[in-house]
């Protein structure tokens, strides 16, 4: 059942990483769709059957009926099925504000050294010159209020930057104490950043620290896809690949239409090593 898979893609890889962190001892606030939602849906079917997660529409602890129609991750009967409680957006925010959300799980466009999140604009904000995106949505509340935030983003130079072009949702802003100076609750903030290639944590200086790396990339490849050089943990963990069981559930029950996972590069086990599949 826990046989390491031999063929999977980058997005499946990162979904499985996050999914394994999920524990039904804690309460999660999960961002809209994509990898965060798929991670918890997978966890609920793997290791955390009593998983309690919350979505922005005030849905507490659903037993979602998957797969979802496109975009139907909230305010839709399959996503809200058999919840413990149905509320509304202010209720979700209240719970987070009260400290009930142990972990927030978020996808983002761009992240920086301090874990600040940009989902507003790449390039210049003023005058509308940069490339504009949809705004923070619920991510600002999650990033501000969850005790620990787990971010997922792509491993690309322009998405992993020294300083985001626009702070849509707060990481550690510009370092220790900055969140509190702006009225955010103490003890909160970024905890992990996952990409399809790596896992980062944070040092006492509130800056990203590389802690784990996928078996199918080298440290050099990874650093080339970052705009800054992060601190590196003394003992760099090699992240474990998805298992066959995880992939089967993900592919046949959750992301059946490939809405989330269709975008990634494929990895294969060849000659005892994981590497990018040649197309």
């Amino acid at each position: 059942m826990s046989t390491p898979a031999t063929d999977f893609n980058e997005r499946e890889f990162v979904i499985c990483q996050i999914s394994r962190l999920v524990d039904d001892k804690y309460i999660y606030w999960v961002g809209g769709g994509g990898e965060p939602m798929n991670s918890v849906l997978l966890a609920k079917r793997m290791s955390a059957p009593n998983l309690q997660y919350l979505t922005e529409d005030g849905c507490v602890g659903p037993e979602a009926r998957v797969p979802f129609d496109p975009l139907m991750t909230m305010i839709a009967s399959p996503a809200n099925y058999r919840a413990l409680q149905w509320g509304t957006m202010n209720y979700a925010a209240d719970l987070a504000q009260l400290g009930y959300v142990d972990y927030g799980i978020l996808a983002t466009l761009q992240v920086d050294r301090y874990g600040n999140i940009n989902s507003t604009v790449v390039g210049k904000y003023e005058g509308g010159e940069g490339r504009r995106f949809g705004g923070p949505g619920g991510a600002d509340s999650i990033a501000a209020l969850a005790w620990r935030t787990i971010l997922v983003t792509d491993q690309q130079k322009r998405k992993f930057v020294e300083r985001v072009d626009f702070i849509s949702s707060p990481g550690f802003l510009d370092g220790p104490g900055a969140r509190e100076r702006h009225g955010l609750p103490p003890g909160t903030g970024p905890w992990r950043v996952y990409t399809p290639w790596a896992m980062f944590g944070y040092g006492a200086d509130c800056q990203l620290m590389l802690q784990g790396i996928a078996p199918f990339v080298t440290l050099e490849q990874l650093l080339e896809e970052m705009s800054f050089k992060p601190a590196i943990a003394p003992k760099l963990e090699i992240l474990e690949v998805p298992t066959e069981e995880e992939l089967m559930i993900l592919r046949t029950q959750i992301d059946v239409g490939g809405q989330v996972t269709d975008r990634g590069r494929w990895i294969e086990l060849k000659d005892g090593k994981y590497r990018f599949a040649t197309p």
Binding site: E56, G58, D69, L71, M74, P170
Partner: protein, 323 residues
């Protein structure tokens, strides 16, 4: 209680006393029938230059049929409450109806981006939760509400929020300005002719929108007798006196879902999203808005009874969606 930091953007004027006076003078305190057509409701209660809030969105129990009617009537210069939404803001901007947006989350697309660059559309920055908290403050008759989020973001600088020294703890705390839209449009499962209304399942801020807005149009999948409310008063989401117009709108959220009643139409969703991503709603508007005179005609001629039967059939979950 010092002000430590202030956003620099315009925001809809905070005036709880003015809102109270408007509730006293213009809200229908008496129980009177408010049933009317989409056309009449939008003609009477949506005005050029209004601040417009729609609850939920074009795909998720939103007032999609009312949004199409607003476009059909070519309303102008609306200021949109862009929380938790994909295509509706883009539709309204591209159709020439709106020129300001408070943003929590919207589907942006190239068209709005161009309108912003050409200074035809102005954007103000919030988050979904900050906007619904602003509505909550408006729904309580307050001028503002504290919040523990949004501080430290760049969005804050482009908002109407402030950070003050909390007079109780001495620590910095953010204040959001109350929001009292000129008009809200809300789609619900059931309403009576007076405007008592029920939403089943989760939601965004339907109760807040109804309480916070000077004018309120409710569109409902079903019109039911007032006695239905009286036998289960706990299920009343919206009280009649907050509502100005009740529109019977079966499949009013199409192409979106109404939980427990019908599923979304995935092809309809993708058609709208695709048009938004391309930055061209011309064909979409022609087909889905301008080609018909009314929502009824839209359902008959554009959507078709087969599709309606299909999305109803695809919604197999009923549990929790009835009183």
């Amino acid at each position: 209680m010092r002000i430590l930091e202030e956003g620099k953007a315009d925001y809809l004027k905070v005036d709880p006393d003015g809102y109270r006076a408007s509730v006293r003078d213009h809200k229908p305190h008496q129980m009177v029938s408010k049933l009317m057509t989409h056309k009449e409701a939008v003609e009477r209660f949506v005005r050029d230059g209004d601040y417009l809030a729609y609850d939920c969105n074009y795909f998720q129990r939103g007032p999609s049929s009312l949004i199409r009617e607003i476009i059909r009537q070519r309303k102008k210069n609306l200021w949109l409450c862009g929380k938790f939404t994909y295509v509706a803001c883009a539709l309204l901007v591209e159709a020439g109806c709106a020129d300001r947006i408070d943003i929590g989350f919207i589907g942006f697309g190239p068209w709005i981006a161009r309108a912003v660059r050409e200074k035809k559309c102005t954007i103000y920055e919030y988050s979904n939760a900050v906007i619904t908290l602003r509505l909550k403050a408006g729904a309580m008759g307050l001028p503002f509400m504290p919040a523990r989020s949004f501080g430290g973001t760049d969005g804050f600088q482009h908002s109407g929020c402030k950070i003050v020294e909390d007079p109780f703890t001495g620590k910095p705390v953010l204040l959001v300005p109350a929001l009292n839209p000129d008009v809200s449009i809300i789609h619900v499962h059931q309403a009576d002719e007076f405007g008592n209304a029920r939403v089943f399942g989760t939601g965004i801020a339907h109760a807040e929108c109804a309480l916070a807005s000077k004018r309120v149009i409710v569109s409902a999948e079903e019109i039911v007798a007032t006695d239905e409310f009286r036998r289960d008063p706990a299920s009343t989401s919206i009280a009649h006196f907050t509502v100005d117009a009740v529109v019977h709108a079966p499949f009013g959220a199409y192409p979106g879902t109404v939980q427990g009643y019908y599923a979304s139409d995935p092809m309809g969703v993708i058609e709208a999203m695709g048009a938004m991503f391309r930055g061209d709603f011309t064909e979409y508007l022609k087909k889905h808005v301008y080609s018909v005179q009314s929502h009824d005609e839209y359902l008959q001629k554009v959507v078709g009874t087969e599709k309606l039967a299909e999305i109803r059939r695809r919604e197999t979950i009923r549990e929790g969606y009835a009183s």
